[in-house]
Amino acid sequence: MSSEADTGPLPLAQRLSEPAIADAVSYAVDQMTPEYVARPETVDDLTGLIKSAAADGAAIIPWGGGTQMGLGNVPERYRLGVDLTGLNEVLRYDPDDMTMSVQAGCRLQDLNLMLRENRQILPVDAAYPEQATIGGLVAVGASGPRRLGYGPLRDLIIGMTVLMADGTVATAGGQVVKNVTGYDMMRLHHGALGSLGIVVSVNLKVIPRPQSERTVVATYQTLKDADRAALDVAASQLGVTALVVTNPEATAEGTGVRGRFWGLAVRCEAPPSAVVRQAERVVQYIQASAEEVFTEESSDESDARWQHICRAIDQRRDSPDIAVRLGIRTSRTRDNAGSLLDELKSFGLSRLTLDYGSALGYLRFPGSEITSEDFTEIVRACNRYGDHVTVMTAPAEWKHAIDVFGSRPAGFSMIESLKANLDPDRLLNPGRSVGRL
């Protein structure tokens, strides 16, 4: 490194050898394969690498566990894939302070296993926690159904270290749960899809692990019935931590209930004797028009149920399905989801998950059964009924024609200005973020 300080960064070709074809392909994004792939194991290595890439003008795509790499517009350029799973150290964990600092490549499941020993959790949903990394979760900025009870990942982040495109390492926030010192740069990078900097490490607050949990599941003939039950629970003081309605296909997968029923799943988390009463009271709220109601009577079964539900929402990058997320506020869910379903009838919608606790809806279509014209029509219909629409996964050739994040948000000139100031050479994920940033 010292010689580099004198002579400037090494060219990438000297720093890295070209990857084996198999490696390059496994780091492909939207069918673009990188010229180089690297898996740095220290922040210094990563910094050197980014400086080299910057000197070469090489576009960089950072990778975590890869579970969400289907998200984003088709990259404009892609020469260097940076796998951050080598940065997987837990830098500190202070159980009594309920805080931790972890490198970007730490996997969610590993963290929760560690936290479990101290009866704590990081209450973040991911369909594949054994793969998903913290850095990836932060960059994507998506939170699942447990947002209702614990807030989004965004609100658990208390500090962050980011490698900027110019090779400087910038930290913001700190190691305490309450802090207004300096700008909240954590929120700038959360959900920015790595377009303004590469998240190197994240400081998080964790919470006491709920002492016990139950999940109440109910099935209904119609969306209308399920919606009414969901709204009743939402308006109650039962303090449930997740509340999701599923269409018959997703119900079969997520709840295991066979038949053509809409499903409702309600997560209860509380001290051991309280949770039993809580679940009983939930049942009273939702049973009136239900076909069937049952309660997962153990914490493990309850937890497993939600893992299924998260998988109906999310999917692996290599899945052939098309996935769309829409913002859909609770008060309009029944009407909008109903109308949307009518319009999408002919496209073979496979799963619809309506997260009443988050005001988000998730749709999945079997990719093999629809055409690119169908796809355009689906996106258009979603835009009519959603507050906002994001195409989470779709074949690259279809994504070319659209901005997967929909129309440019208000104040886009500020976002462009941020990009121009923080990544002037557009090295980080060029073209992938909102407005093809």
Partner: protein, 486 residues
């Protein structure tokens, strides 16, 4: 540009009754709730009191065109000098914009104007079973716009989180004169989280003209416990034990003996004046869970030598206990002509040693220090009591304050938990952040406000000699970012 012409244009924008430039009228706007001997004061050239977002935008466009600094202000209850017109110019005071524009319980939000007083919103929605969770102690006076600017906290953010967690969207006038909506009722709208970036930016990158705020369901049950302890140490270890037991109270507050004396003299809230410290603990949620957690907390407090644990049995009793806590700063007048309120945070486990250190610092500098704070969050509020007219006392107060900041940073804490940086603490920012860290933040500032005319002089440290944020660039890679300062 003469000031006469500026006055004309401002008057045309907001009307004659909404432009102040009489020095007597301006006097009150020189200050906020910080002590001006510490944070400083400065008179704006004009105060405008717009009534609509369009008027705010128009004032900003005029200021931009004429290159006049703009400083937004709510109720002026800030404690760090954030709402002081440090370079003069136009102060945009938003207190006439105080309407509740929409309440939507089904989707759990309200849209309010920035000048709405924090408590007024909850007063309006609580009968329907909803409330706005951020509850700074000044909530009877402070505005929601100010809460957004400072990312304010309050006793209940232990469970409910700080203001940022409760802001779903914002209508903002940007330094380029554009007015935009960020965020919305459904989360995860694509793009950069402009709402999150705006909250806590202390009016340096935009002026909030409407806020879409989250409404939280009133919990089914609530218990307020008051537990006096013989010593601060005993109370601190009870705090750690409660957190370690996996209980998350809604609030977990501590007051020391000096504070109790002041509070009791002023309000007779029912705190025992012979205690070394008291904990005020609120538990809320599902009735069954509240009952279960209450039992656990009572056991823990007794185990840590609480003199007693009193559970408030009526709403009146709960309110009285809370009034004593929330009005504690005001009660300090019973003890001292002036106080310097620090707002630092330490990891929760560092509380006992930090409180010992605060006590030591007080003794070293021959100053009395009262402590009233958010123990559950590790957010301290040492109040250094003094008399500004006693020769030499102010210098000792400032040294004591700085020593506390150093200590808190050294044990892994932060120099402001909820009051903000403003003018008061900007030169201490370097205790926590490197030039590279600050350069990244300056990149954000520059992206929104390249002319550096929105609430200038705030947040960023004064560089040695040059007095502007550009002094950082010799340390970091600012040249590359092309930052220039007017």
């Amino acid at each position: 540009m003469s000031t006469g012409n500026l006055k004309q244009r401002l008057t045309a924008a907001v009307g004659p009754s909404a432009v102040l430039d009489d020095p007597y009228d301006l006097l009150v706007y020189e200050y906020d709730a910080s002590d001006e001997v510490i944070a400083g004061n400065h008179q704006p050239d004009f105060v405008v009191l717009p009534e609509t977002a369009e008027q705010v935008a128009e004032v900003v466009r005029i200021a931009r065109e004429l290159n006049v600094p703009v400083t937004p202000r709510g109720a002026g209850t800030g404690l760090a000098g954030g709402a002081i017109a440090a370079r003069g110019g136009i102060m945009v005071c938003l207190t006439r914009m105080k309407n509740v524009l929409e309440i939507n319980y089904l989707d759990r939000y309200a849209i309010v104007e920035p000048g709405l007083i924090n408590l007024d919103l909850s007063v309006r929605t609580t009968p329907d079973g909803y409330f706005f969770a951020p509850d700074p102690s000044s909530q009877k006076a402070c505005t929601i716009g100010g809460n957004v600017a400072n990312n304010s906290g309050g006793p209940h953010c232990l469970k409910y989180g700080v203001t940022s967690n409760h802001i779903l969207g914002l209508e903002v006038v940007l330094p380029n004169g554009e007015m935009i909506w960020t965020g919305g009722a459904a989360p995860e709208s694509p793009g950069i989280d402009m709402t999150g970036v705006m909250v806590g930016s202390e009016g340096t990158i935009g002026i909030v003209t409407k806020a879409m705020v989250r409404l939280t369901r009133v919990p089914e049950d609530v218990n307020v416990l008051m537990a006096p302890f013989p010593t601060i140490d005993a109370a601190s270890s009870a705090v750690s034990a409660i957190i370690a037991a996996g209980i998350l109270p809604a609030a977990l507050e501590m007051m020391d003996a000096l504070t109790i004396q002041a509070v009791e003299a002023a309000y007779h809230a029912g705190y025992p004046t012979d205690a070394g410290a008291v904990l005020l603990i609120e538990i809320d949620g599902l009735a069954e869970a509240v009952a279960e957690s209450t039992e656990q907390i009572v056991t823990i407090c007794k185990h840590h030598n609480a003199n007693e644990v009193r559970v408030a049995t009526s709403q009146a009793e709960r309110d009285l206990l809370w009034q004593g806590r929330k009005a504690a700063f005001g009660a300090m007048g019973r003890l001292t002509p002036n106080y310097y309120l620090q707002d630092t945070v330490v990891p929760r486990t560092k509380l006992p040693e930090t409180l010992r250190r605060v006590d030591e610092i007080g003794r070293d500098h021959k100053l009395k220090i009262a402590n009233v704070f958010h123990a559950g969050d590790g957010n301290l509020h040492p109040l250094i009591l003094f008399d500004r007219y006693k020769p030499g006392e102010l210098e000792r107060v400032l040294s004591a304050g700085t020593e506390m900041l150093h200590w808190c940073v050294d044990v892994g804490g932060a120099i402001s938990g909820e009051h903000g940086i403003g003018l008061e603490k900007k030169d201490h920012l370097t205790l926590m952040f490197s030039p590279q860290d600050l350069a990244a933040m300056a990149g954000l500032k520059k992206s929104f406000d390249p002319l550096n005319y929105f609430n200038p002089e705030k947040v960023f440290p004064t560089g040695a000699g040059c007095g502007e944020i550009d002094s950082l660039k010799k340390h970091a890679r600012w040249e590359k970012m092309g930052i220039h300062v007017v």
